[in-house]
């Protein structure tokens, strides 16, 4: 049996999930190894894409539109690599962070199924296939959200479930209209299609469904509670990786389908601006650390959409790159931040921001990680977040759209403000007159987020190779 790396990136986590489920006692070993193996498959795939541009495989030997094809180009591989790398580090962090045996038992099968679904999204070229993958992701993600079992987590999980199902149904109805109009479901068919009423309806439905799943303002209502109440590794995966899958599909669809007109692009950008402002306000008001970090995700998602809309409809051919860089930056930094926040909560015992400096325990390594992650999210050089924001503003300025630049600046100032709330709480030593309990040595649960946060900052130095990589295979601008 020989098979190509693309198929392996899908099947390795699937078999890992099955193994982790039927052998619950070995789950903590099977889990990280499966993620590592998936990473190896992604590396092989990256090599192929570097050599050959885009790589395609038609599953079952049936070519689209009858069959389903998998396609990997630069953007797909970048997303796959981010998912594998962040996933591996979060897995390592989870080994230490999950205390409860039951949580450990279920985390691994759910996370590996999530990984299967996400890899499927990044390699998919058929919109119904994407629908099924979205559902795989949704169920696994809800399972992870409620892993902690608290009432708050369950409530948030139920809201997430409702939003998820609704989003998926809107997407499915869109798929129905696409079939009605053009009789095929693959990306190539979408690119070749002519605009029509049914296709516009389909595009609208699918986009609203995706916006609901990626939590763009004002459809973000389910996200803060869900991400804040989940256990730390689950939150890291949810905020860092899960919301990106729907975003990725949005990027593909919005460019492949009959060109969205200027109004639509502006609308998207405005919603993004709303997310930045509203999310920023809520983050400033947040009382708990994890809630603040969750609202920061809402802000960053908004920022990604502003990046997409930065130069209006004409600039879409280039804007997607800024959005992609921001996606990568946010995925890495947010995962680091949630893991660090989880460590802080574990060590100090609570995560109420106002009282963080009243504790005698100072989880210094976690606090340092948090600060590093904040640097990338705020967008200070040389982090990858800085590259993304810079790219956003540069494109907007070139096209003359000052309003996006203004909103981004306001957003950046607000993020400095709310992250400073937390960092100030870390730094005030005078509140507690007790021997400051320094962090005792290294823990795996600290090393993982620290690595992620450092990567977020240093990857900014590699911006040029990253940008040229994601252009491999011409993700947009040519038929896949």
């Amino acid at each position: 049996m020989q098979t190509d790396p693309m198929t392996l990136t899908l099947f390795v986590p699937l078999f890992g999930a099955i193994a982790a489920f039927v052998l619950p006692r070995a789950a903590s070993v099977i889990g990280p190894f499966s993620v590592l193996a998936t990473g190896a498959a992604v590396a092989l795939l990256a090599r192929e894409v570097l050599a050959a541009g885009a790589v395609t495989v038609s599953l079952g030997g049936w070519a689209p539109p009858l069959g389903i094809a998998l396609r990997a180009d630069g953007l797909s591989v970048a997303m796959l690599a981010m998912t594998a790398a962040v996933g591996l580090l979060v897995s390592l962090g989870a080994l230490d962070a999950l205390r409860d045996a039951r949580q450990r038992q279920y985390f691994w099968p759910l996370w590996l199924l999530l990984l299967t679904g996400m890899n499927g999204v990044y390699l998919g070229t058929d919109i119904f296939n994407l629908y099924v993958m979205i559902e795989v992701i949704a169920l696994a993600a809800v399972g992870l959200t409620v892993l902690s079992g608290t009432t708050a987590a369950l409530r948030a999980g139920l809201e997430y479930m409702y939003a998820s199902i609704l989003g998926a149904l809107l997407f499915l109805t869109g798929v129905g209209f696409v079939y009605l109009q053009i009789g095929r479901l693959d990306f190539a068919g979408l690119i070749a299609a002519e605009p029509s009423g049914a296709l516009s309806a389909a595009l609208a439905l699918m986009l609203v469904g995706l916006l609901l799943k990626t939590a763009l303002f004002p459809l973000h209502f389910w996200l803060p509670a869900a991400h804040a109440n989940a256990t730390a590794p689950a939150s890291a995966l949810l905020s860092g990786l899960v919301v990106k899958a729907a975003l990725y599909i949005f990027l593909r669809l919005a460019t492949y389908m009959p060109p969205p007109d200027e109004m639509l692009v502006t609308l998207i950008g405005t919603l993004g601006a709303g997310a930045v402002i509203w999310g920023g306000i809520q983050a400033l008001r947040a009382e708990r650390l994890k809630m603040l970090v969750a609202w920061s995700t809402v802000v960053q998602i908004g920022l990604i959409f502003i990046a997409f809309a930065r130069a209006g409809q004409i600039g879409l051919a280039e804007s997607w790159k800024a959005a992609a860089v921001l996606i990568l930056a946010h995925g890495i930094a947010k995962a680091a931040m949630f893991l660090a926040a989880g460590r802080i909560k574990d060590e100090v015992g609570h995560d109420v921001i106002r009282d963080l400096d009243r504790s005698a325990i100072r989880p210094t390594l976690a606090q340092f990680t948090f600060a590093l992650a904040a640097i990338s999210l705020i967008g200070l050089p040389p982090s990858l977040g800085f590259i993304g924001k810079w790219s956003l503003m540069e494109g907007a300025l070139a096209a003359g759209y000052w309003h996006w630049v203004a909103v981004t600046m306001v957003g950046t100032l607000m993020s400095v403000a709310y992250f400073s709330r937390v960092l100030a709480a870390f730094l005030r030593f005078d509140r507690v007159r007790a021997p400051v309990g320094e962090h005792q040595g290294w823990a795996l649960a600290d090393a993982a987020p620290l690595t992620l946060a450092l990567s977020a900052i240093t990857l900014g130095l590699m911006a040029a190779p990253i940008l040229s990589f994601i252009e491999l295979g011409y993700p947009f601008g040519a038929t896949p």
């Binding site: 609704l166 499915l172 798929v175 129905g176 009605l180």
Partner: protein, 97 residues
């Protein structure tokens, strides 16, 4: 008045009803029901699109898609209902304390 037109409009009406119900529903179980209605509406759309004037056979691919959709929907419904049951149990305990 072909069957496809009649059932197509039926499906869209059901989808709209389900959408309205899921946005405005009062209790949790009702929201699940509304979402199920909307999913049946979406399935109607696909099947109507696959229908061909007899004696031609309909296009089998949307039928396969709808079967997949039904199974996926029952899975999602089962998880949502499990969440509702568990929440209810926890809330009943919280109230008893």
């Amino acid at each position: 008045m072909t069957p496809e037109l009649i059932y197509g409009l039926t499906g869209i009406a059901v989808f709209g009803a389900g959408l309205a119900g899921s946005l405005g529903a009062q209790d949790r179980l009702r929201r699940v029901l509304a979402l199920k209605l909307a999913s049946v509406g979406a399935c109607f759309l696909l099947i109507v699109a696959a229908w061909r004037e007899p004696p031609a056979a309909p296009d089998p691919v949307p039928h396969a898609l709808v079967i997949t959709g039904i199974v996926v929907m029952v899975s999602a419904t089962a998880v949502a209902l499990a969440l509702i049951r568990r929440l209810h149990t926890l809330e009943a305990e919280d109230d008893a304390d």
